[in-house]
Amino acid sequence: MSKSLKWLFALMLAMLLVLAACGNNTAGDDDQKKDDPKTETEDPKDDEKEDEEEPVEDDGLYSIDDFATSKTNEGEAIEGGSLTFGLVSDTVFEGTLNYNFYSGAPDAEVIAWFDESMLYTDGNFTFTNEGPAEFTTEPYETDEYPNGVTFTFKIKDNVNWHDGEPVKAEDWAFSFEVIGHPDYTGVRYGPDFSNIVGMEEYNAGEADTISGIEIVDEKTLKITYKESQPSLLTGGVWSYAMPKHIFKDIPVAEMQESDAVRKNPIGMGPFKVKSITPGESVVYEKFADYWRGEPNLDEVVLKVVSPSTVVQALQTGEVDMVDSFPVDQFVDNADMSNVEWLGITDLAYTYIGFKLGHWDAEAKKVVMDPDKKMADVNLRRAMWYAVDNNAVGEKFYNGLRWQANSLIIPPFKDYHNADVEAPTYNPDEAKKLLDEAGYVDVDGDGIREDKNGEELVINFASMSGGDVAEPLAQYYIQSWAAVGLKVELIDGRLLEFNAFYDRVGQNGEDDPNIDIYQGAWSTGTDVNPYGLYGPDQMFNFPRYESEKSSELLAAGNSPEAFDVAYRQEVYKEWQELMVEDIPVFPTLYRAVLIPVNNRVLNYAIDYGSTMGRHELAVTQEEPFKHE
């Protein structure tokens, strides 16, 4: 064997290893958090005694209602102290430590300790006046933009950057100038920015300034939007400032690789960055001048913890708390004695989608196709009736995921319609619907044929990752088989994350062989579902549109919808429409669980909590250990 052949063989082997290792992949936050099943090392359960507070039930089932959202405070806080925060990720953090440039979720966790939003939000994810800045709005009406709105922001006096400079209106305006700049390299630019008067001209390089942004005085900023929409109040206004005095001499194209972003970033948050070990850890020290008061803790250490070792790290007190915990490891560790488990409903849902058309790249909109295999709504409804998502939640997830009924998730308290009459498990109803719709078994093999009496095979795309992916997909296939529908995994296997979204159509090139797919969305904090179901949205993967839906989606984000009651009514109707039209059906909502060491005080995870990180404290120098 010649040298190069040998070498080629070695390369092939390496590739094989690489392929084997890519099975687990956590790209993207819409994908479920997966962990490496093979590396789970279990501590023997030597402690049989159950803590009364632990939400343990005899049947091994848990419910999100049993979890608190804020830490029970036990004991007296000590002066100062150091806390270790685990960033659970099987990749390193990228180190793009600025809100205007980051794109990975791990980086956001790192930034959140030293910088913050100019506007805080409440439990409905709506901006409040509690944060570093206050705002008022007034209508802006011109012939060109009859529905405009002007926001006036006033930055509070004692808000300072870590280097002592006050946070000024120009710092905030600077963020817009950077993101809108033609040379900007990040992902943030989008409709939220082009909605600002003059932004498109600036972005195209035709104007040197953004006409809709006005610095009134040192602490006052005015921003005018072309269209007044309720989404502006739920994250639609870019609420992150950047220190202009530091960035002003750096060309926009080079900012994201500059030391001001990567090595010594500053912010206005309760802790300032002391040292960074790239990708591994960050040490923060307290910022005594923090505008909400001096932080209790002297120091915070953030370090990356792999999902496969996070349990041990928590048990030994190596980390006090984590940003997210792999929920499928909870059941085996519910009795961990040194932590309290907090839990909340995640801003995400899993769903089954039906391919109803294709993406027209020219017109940039979806086109429905009445000849699609899944075009009959009765077939889709029957498939919804055929699956028992309660059982899925209990059997596969121990109750930590549960049956979903609506595409607007429960954390959107004002808008989630808990009473929407969604199909629940009823195989007889499914069979009846199929019989009536003409899907009957003609040749007597136990499998239904389509309306023309021809063979019907539905191709199902589902993502790999985690222990549960395969059995879950098989469960759905069996459930559909039980009502006589033949569903097969596309290519006979699960698809890897990237391949899955490529074929489902993230580039608009949908794989025409896919008929149904199982996906998941993380919704973000804006209730408006337009980005996922609007007719001109690439992420409308089912390629569904209807006049009624488009109308309701537009109404839900119109100026009238600032009236919460009106918006509720619109979204209620839309949720009902989705149960009628079924372009997709939601299958599961999910829980986020956060373990917090017993020595930690003043920590809450509920949405819109006003408890700041400066209030965090510990009751003793060393973390509690699991016994």
Binding site: A10, V187, G190, P191, S275, S281, N498, D526
Partner: protein, 320 residues
Amino acid sequence: MWKFSVRRILIMIPQLFVLSLLIFVLAKMMPGDALSGQIDPNIDPARIEELRIEMGWYDPWHEQYARWVGGVMQGDFGMSFRFKMPVTELIGQRIVNSFWLSVATLILTYLIAIPLGITSGRYNDTFRDQLITGYSYVGFATPLFIFALVMLWVFGFQLQWFPTSGSVEPGMEPGTFDYFMSKFYHLLLPALSMALITTFNTILYLRNEIIDTKQKDFILLARSKGASESRVYNQHIFRNSLLPIAAFFGFEITGLIGGSIFIENIFGYPGMGQLLIESISLRDFSVVTATTLLFGIASILGALISDIILSLVDPRIRIK
């Protein structure tokens, strides 16, 4: 000798070319790209499309390849899309970690292998020898990633003798003695795990060589001249047996690369192996191609070193 080396180095050029082409095409054939992970309703798909065009990801592959090779020639591997920094700088951060890990592993491997190999060769077919060969067979049969996990669990989590992830304690001042010690402490367990497993072939080579050499005529001669037993072993046998081991030194490097991919991922040790796996799963093409290319070059260089050492040792191998 020189002729051989030069010729051997010239062969590397087409090897490297084919390697770079293969790496690039395979990387591009992977479904998805670095922006696929950004499927998020809060990010505008139009912006993502714009970025894809800006990055030139829609250009024909040969144009992209030409651009990439042009950059590589000048030492520029492009920008990492994920880390938003030049790949050379990124690799610069990581390669140091991997380099020290490899050095430590090599030293530990030889520290374990040479005494064991000599003992086992000198006292072949005794109980001692059986113990040592037993150990090397166990090492041969144990998958590295299982063994590393067990080591991590026992020494990292149960006994807590070693840190369980990272390359250095958070907040250490680079350049200080403490920093250096912390780095060393962090790489000890991964290096040891790998050395204990990969040492088997060196032990067995050494053992066989010694047994072989023991029966050669010149040893008989040395003995008959009245050389002491220790002189026979240390001077005559050991030196001769070590030559093939030295020759395999280059291949050892190739083996280390394969091992480091597992080890770094299991121990959360931020080196090149971890970088490679991460950038493959997140489709950070410029990093994937750069790391694979560097790994490829290291393997080719390893083979080259071996060939050169071998040809020094054994003139028969030189090509006429």
